[in-house]
């Protein structure tokens, strides 16, 4: 079956069922972990190779998030989380390009299932609330009744739209892309789907960037001077 309609459980850890999405994500985490391990296992003062690439990436992400979030200490605190979001979502999106993805039973890109995207969005929600509380203390929660207590329903609705828009955008884009490629492969198995697959390389990166930038902007809004 395609696109996660197969809800098979591989095995159970006690009462917790472990399905194909969890196993695929473990694989992706293992790949990212291995690359990070090889990049940092023999660190030099004058970096070269993989260590050099990682250091350049970390410096770039700190600068990027500082520009986006205004406050440098907040950017430095949340850059590891946001960079992890980016790498994880990028690898998840690109896992759909591995031959057999969505065709082999139990193997589908995790981000084409909304359970995964809503989990990522919920992590952002918690990070936003925690960052706002860390920066402003109890005054942070005053923004829910700002500028007047009458605004409480509107402010709550606005707060709910953030994780939902993150969830739906990532899930919709990746699921739609996987569907189109699968039907193209079914109708015209050769050459034609290659163009779409090339496009999905771009789309996968864009969606990872969009999720990360939006998460950063929500954190920036919670920690900003307006609250």
């Amino acid at each position: 079956m395609m696109f996660g309609f197969w809800d098979g459980v591989f095995f159970k850890i006690g009462p917790i069922p472990v399905d194909h999405l969890v196993v695929t994500q473990w694989g992706i985490v293992a790949v990212i972990g291995l690359v990070a391990f090889f990049a940092t296992r023999n660190m030099q003062i004058c970096p070269s190779g993989l260590q050099n690439a990682f250091e350049a990436m970390i410096v770039w992400t700190y600068d990027f998030f500082t520009q986006l979030m205004d406050k440098e200490h907040v950017a430095k605190r949340y850059a590891p989380l946001l960079t992890t979001f980016f790498l994880f979502i990028l690898f998840c999106n690109y896992s759909g390009l591995i031959p057999g993805a969505a065709h082999i039973k139990g193997f589908q890109p995790p981000t084409s299932n909304w359970n995964v995207t809503i989990t990522l969005a919920l992590i952002t929600v918690f990070a936003v609330q925690i960052s706002g509380f860390q920066e402003h203390g109890l005054h942070y929660f005053g923004h829910f009744v700002s500028p007047s207590p009458l605004m409480l329903p509107l402010n709550l609705l606005e707060e709910i739209t953030h994780p939902l828009s993150l969830t739906v955008r990532l899930f919709g884009n990746i699921f739609g892309e996987e569907m189109i490629i699968a039907y193209m492969l079914f109708l015209v198995p050769f050459v034609v789907p290659s163009a779409l697959m090339a496009l999905s390389v771009l789309l996968g990166a864009i969606q990872a960037i969009v999720f990360t930038i939006l998460s950063a902007s929500y954190i920036a809004a919670a920690t900003g001077e307006g609250h």
Binding site: L68, T161, S165, V168, I213, S217
Partner: protein
């Protein structure tokens, strides 16, 4: 004249965020209202109230975005006057 520095990550985030947040506010208002209508047998009133809240929330988000941009413009103009009196 001072060049207005474009903070492209912020501009991109604002553009993407506003579009999808407005759509989601309407989706939450409409579907939430419909669900409550079914639960309390009050159709179509709670759906309409949900839509009104969604429209107000969307307006609020757009207004805040506009005010942020105005504040940012005012800051740049002030800086420009200080540098080129």
């Amino acid at each position: 004249m001072t060049d207005k520095k474009q903070n492209w990550p912020k501009a991109l985030a604002n553009a993407i965020n506003l579009a999808t947040s407005v759509a989601m506010a309407f989706a939450v208002g409409l579907l939430g209202g419909q669900w409550l209508d079914e639960k309390f047998n009050t159709a179509p009133w709670l759906m309409l109230i949900g839509l009104i809240f969604a429209a107000l929330t969307s307006g609020k988000m757009m207004w805040e975005r506009l005010m942020d941009d105005n504040r940012s413009d005012a800051t740049y103009q002030k800086k420009d006057k200080e540098e080129n009196p």
